[in-house]
Symmetry: C2
Subunit: 773 residues, 2 copies
């Protein structure tokens, strides 16, 4: 594997672009930090949010670090179970075997830490930036729409460029050092980022919804006071939650997709390098990424309002997006023409860009109030909460079908693009096709800088609005912030679609890498591919398909338990004399503390499930069944994730449609009507689905794939466990899980708080009869 | 393939047992018909139900017949596209090729009609019997619990024995005539039954829930009158619905599983006959079935109450069940020891019996009010409808994971049982394992007679209760019927679990037959098995996995539309002076008519989806991708079906728990409390999930598998469509579907009725902004 001088130069340019992206982020940050921070009352509210966010981050670090520590050691030690790959031996040919082993082990461990730290940095710095942005947007809204928009978007762009810069930097550095031995370390890098994203997604998702549901259930429903009312003890926790969930969680999630697509792109690229001897297949994805970063810098900087009173925030954001898209497509074409000498690479990257746009449009169709599905839910509120829920379920079910078809069409297009490629065997062709799929993923995430900026913009303007409400700002400023906030809801929904789509494409690429990787370790192990027609593999498929359902069930219940604790606390504080009158300040920190602790507590079991699942299946049922497991997890994960995200989004916007109706209780329209109440029920049901369970599946499906890739060498070697032993292991684990499940005294779930006396009186009644009775 | 005299004799005995089952059904029927029919007022109500049921059946026949006609012709003509199998040529060796072709074509067409007619008979006769039983149970309840129970259970047993008898008869006759050429005709037989079951499940499911939801929304919610109140115009439609959905639909569904398991058992048995030259592999499943029928006759006849006042109906039913189980296991052991000389066959059949029991227990755990999950939902009603729904979703999600694990363990046990079987190659071993899976399915449905009896018992006692309410019977009789009815809810839930479990096992066996069958047609076509690691196959998996979601979305929406029409009609009738006062009789027939027409209208698109889906995928993407499609459909179908069934059941029973609490509005307990209202919302959401969408997936996953088996020879021959053409076809179809989806003016869905003015006023408001704006 030799680089031409051009290629060596190109790699350095890529590295330079990555650094430029980071520098641009630093530049934007300094711009934002120069803005003023408003009144003393605003700063007071903001201080509470900042402290809450910091407390969450500190606490989360405490939960994550032991996990990271243990896994780092295990990853390092794994080279002493399975020797380094032949590629690694070749790359470090000058060293004795012991040293090579050490280098590879250290490389994997360090890359893992690097992935984890980068992911953490994106999440934490991005969230801190968002918190800094909040108050400055609120302050700027007092004078100008244009300035408020610019500050909000640029604060978000800081996170976007961090994602871009760190993602590109990590992959490039690893590749430059390890060369053809890169997969070993790249897997560690990907796994670190993905695991952190899982933690931040799940933790953030539980936190934000527990605080939100808890605040609403007592404040809006029981006490009938408005959202963001300063008398509500959970209101700061709610605002912190927006940052923790939508900002840190989403940023880590997208960072991780960004990282994993380049990891799988490089791994699949290396198989083509093996086949062809030409190194362009791995240089290309790095160049594409660099072009994307450059395009994002150009496009995001163009986003600003015009100095009219109520500007068009969405229009401005879109202008930036389309500028970036145009710049990058031109760049791709140049690279394809003058470096790849190939139209196929260009076609698959552009297919990714198209995929992103189509998924955007689909998400919009099913979740935006202007289209039939949300309108149908709006109409169904006339029949009460039950019909609202049923209609939303049907809408969500349908939307996930279309999303799967789009993903299917994308894979088909990769097949179509590479079908005519002149290669010797059909088996080789599959490598090209998988490479094409990976390039689609790379293309889809080209404009990650813009996407993350758009997404972070959401919680920033939301929080600014909250600060404005709590600090009692003047109406004009409030109106500007409300406008910015409304656009934020749309941009958040769109990013969600991209996040899921890219997660699935990334997972499919990883799945492809799994087969390629196992075949390199042992050409016989998966010589027949992954045959679901084998009963054992079918069992793997079934188990894998059930994991996302279990994961969702656990995360929804976790939100319920955490929300129950918040409800209890807010109710307790409302009973303190003076709170309801507004003369005594509630203890915001306690609610923040409760939500933080509760969210962290739930993380461990979910992460363990995602990490241990593939290991158990692989060891007990063998490597081919593990492949079936992965296919099942991707399929179910995609279907469930999109269903939950879109149903949640549709309910949310149906409720908003009703709130925009003229208020007329006699005709049952507008806020406060029975229809509105039904809409609120839909929205509340959708919240944990779209903000906790759904998004948590994105990192989950990648974690199971990455874990499988990493343990593949061990499984190929030790799958010799006899069938009987495997069966016994699986049954025993299932029995233990069942025993735990049925014996455990559940912590109080949704609404159980304060209901103990009810339950106690109710349990005196006669239970219905049953077979065993 | 030669039969020993013992085997020839055995086949005739099997046939005799099948006829005995039917004779037993006729005997029970005559017993029930001799019972008295109560007061004139009772007969009046009952006449309305009977006429409604008859109207439904007539109308349904009208919808189905053209479909059946077209498919019969196509099935017959298919032999002119693809020549008969070598086995058929061998079986009819004396005839010239044209005649053989004719025989095979006719055989398949006639078997198809036979399957369809048998399924129709089970559904229609079973339902007619149930209607006859209703009134007699109500009349008997006036004098004795014992008699009422016996009549209710025996009426149900008629349907059960029809299922048993016809299922066994069909399979045996076909096998006796066609011998080794049986698969051709068996597939037709299975397809006929499955397709009819799909029609009756979907049609019945839509009918029953539309009538139920419609009646409740206006009667219970808007007008605050009790259930089954004679002033409600939809009350008869609701009672008819119980028969149409729970009785005809469920009976056809289980009949079809019963039939399909024997079809796949015989097909997979034939591959073993090929391998070993020993015919015992196909005689065995027929013997097992015959033992089951015999055991059901013995067991069901033992079900009767004791003459105490409030007897233990569940205990009596269980006594019958366990008697049958004991008889059949002894029978299996005898056959295994003295005919098979093999413990493995016995083990896999018994594994099926265990599977049925474990699935029963699982269903019970997640849906019975005595256990933690339903209690958790009960507690969550304290937080209002939203938390009730969220908790139910989490419970449903979790329950489906356990169910999948049980199915996985069953397949693993089949692997474990046959792993040590001394055969030459691993590929041959797979045939034995698949045969083991099929035998598990046969074992699971051994006690179909008892199961269907238990299930039909549900709507019969429910209807008796309704007749009692409407005819104003004395309190003592009403109490007896309420007791019978409560037990009916439990038996219905249990049967649902068995229906889904057996559907999945049957589908897995069919999936196994698919590979075996394709390999017989062309040994090269699936020489590598079905590799989801091939991108094209993975696309098939994605598409297949999405089909159950689409199917569910469509059927839920169909219920919504139909319920909307009923709501409109009931509201209209309530506006007629005198109706509310009870002085004018409502026009029950109109509501029946509306529900009937609406249900039939929705059938065609759903059936077309299930039949055309595999054909399009197979032709466009090839036979291996079609295999991926089937695997995806089974996986998603199982997960969704169990989720919907159990979540619905859990909500239903959580509501009942609250209704059993002492009524105390101050403490928010019992009927009429806010918690009860939340429980009602949960129940209403669960209704279309558990009674329409969920059960419809059982026949659906088998239809796609059977269609694939039938068209396999054509696809193997014509999959040569180039990739580009395939891609174009798929994309074009998707585009057309999307165009239809977005252009269609939706008929009014849930609650839309009467809301037009609301929607009109609402649409004047500003929609939220979006990217395209």
């Amino acid at each position: 594997m030799t680089l031409t001088p051009f290629e060596t130069g190109a790699l350095w340019v890529v590295l330079l672009v990555a650094v430029a992206g980071l520098a641009y982020a630093a530049f934007l940050r300094s711009q934002v930090m120069r803005e003023e921070t408003g009144t003393a009352r605003m700063r007071e509210v903001w201080d509470a949010i900042r402290q809450g966010a910091d407390a969450y981050l500190r606490r989360q670090l405490g939960t994550i670090l032991p996990f990271i520590g243990v896994l780092t050691v295990l990853l390092f030690l794994s080279v002493y179970v399975v020797p380094p790959s032949p590629q690694a031996v070749e790359r470090f040919a000058g060293y004795d075997p012991g040293t090579v082993r050490l280098i590879v082990g250290l490389g994997r461990a360090i890359a893992f830490i690097m992935g984890a730290v980068f992911s953490l940095l994106v999440g934490q710095l991005g969230m801190r930036m968002a918190v800094q942005g909040n108050i400055r947007v609120a302050a700027a809204a007092r004078s100008s729409f244009d300035r408020a928009l610019r500050i909000a978007y640029r604060s978000g762009t800081v996170t976007g460029m961090l994602t871009d810069g760190l993602g590109l930097l990590g992959g490039t550095v690893i590749f430059m050092y390890f060369g053809k031995a890169a997969p070993d370390a790249l897997l560690g890098f990907g796994f670190g980022g993905t695991l952190l994203a899982l933690f931040m997604r799940v933790g953030g998702g539980i936190y934000t919804k527990a605080a939100d549901v808890g605040a609403d259930l007592v404040g809006k429903v029981e006490k009938d006071i408005p959202e963001d009312d300063p008398r509500n003890a959970a209101v700061i926790a709610d605002l912190v939650g927006d940052n923790v969930g939508d900002c840190a969680g989403m940023a880590a999630d997208i960072f991780e997709s960004y990282e994993v697509t380049i990891v799988s792109g490089l791994i699949l690229g290396l198989t083509l390098v093996h086949l062809t001897g030409d190194i362009k297949w791995i240089i290309f994805p790095l160049l594409v990424r660099a072009i994307g970063v450059f395009a994002s810098i150009v496009g995001t900087y163009r986003v600003r309002g015009h100095s009219d009173e109520r500007g068009d925030a969405m229009g401005a954001i879109n202008r930036g997006f389309y500028t970036s898209a145009a710049v990058s497509i031109v760049g791709f074409a140049l690279v394809a023409a003058f470096y790849m000498h190939e139209w196929r690479a260009f076609a698959s990257v552009v297919a990714g860009v198209i995929l992103a746009i189509v998924i955007d449009e689909l998400t919009r169709y099913f979740t935006d109030g202007r289209y039939a599905p949300v309108r149908e839910i709006q109409r169904s509120t006339d029949g009460g909460p039950a019909t609202t829920i049923i209609t939303g379920l049907a809408v969500g079910y349908e939307s996930t079908v279309w999303a799967v078809l789009v993903i299917g069409a994308t894979i088909l297009s990769a097949i179509a693009i590479y079908w005519s490629y002149p290669v010797a065997s059909l088996a080789d062709k599959v490598h090209y096709i998988l490479y094409g799929v990976a390039m689609t993923g790379i293309g889809m995430l080209t404009l990650t800088g813009n996407n993350v900026a758009m997404d972070s913009y959401g919680p920033i303007s939301d929080n600014a609005n909250g600060i404005g409400e709590m600090a009692g700002l003047e109406p004009k400023a409030r109106q500007i912030m409300a406008d910015l906030d409304a656009v934020g809801n749309t941009t958040k929904a769109i990013t969600k679609g991209v996040a899921i789509g890219s997660a699935v494409i990334a997972a499919v690429s990883l799945f492809g890498s799994f087969v390629a990787d196992v075949s390199m370790i042992d050409p016989q192990a998966l010589a027949n591919g992954i045959r679901v027609s084998e009963p054992m593999v079918f069992v793997g498929l079934l188990i894998g398909g059930s994991v996302p359902w279990l994961f969702s069930s656990l995360s929804i219940k976790a939100v319920g338990r955490a929300a129950g604790l918040i409800v209890q606390e807010v109710r307790r504080q409302f009973r303190i004399p003076g709170i309801m009158e507004g003369t005594v300040k509630p203890d915001y920190a306690r609610a923040v503390q409760i939500s933080t602790v509760a969210a962290q507590k739930e993380l461990v079991s979910l992460a363990t499930l995602a990490v241990m699942g593939p290991i158990v299946v692989g060891l007990a049922l063998g490597v081919e069944a593990l492949g079936g497991f992965l296919a099942g997890a991707i399929l179910s994960g995609q279907l469930l994730a999109v269903f939950m995200a879109n149903a949640g989004g549709a309910w949310d916007n149906a409720k908003k449609l009703i709130e925009d109706e003229p208020r007329d209780l006699a005709r049952n329209t507008g806020k406060g009507s029975e229809r509105h109440k039904a809409g609120v029920v839909g929205d509340t049901v959708g919240d944990p689905l779209k903000d906790t369970a759904g998004p948590a599946l994105n990192p989950m499906i990648k974690v199971v794939n990455l874990v499988s890739l990493i343990i593949a060498p061990i499984i190929v070697r030790y799958q010799g466990i006899s069938l009987g032993t495997g069966l016994v292991i699986v049954l025993a684990l299932a029995a233990v899980a069942w025993a735990i499940r049925t014996s455990k005294r559940e912590a109080p779930a949704f609404g159980a708080v304060g209901a103990e006396q009810v339950a106690a009186s109710a349990s005196g009644s006669t239970p219905p009869g049953g077979l065993a009775g």
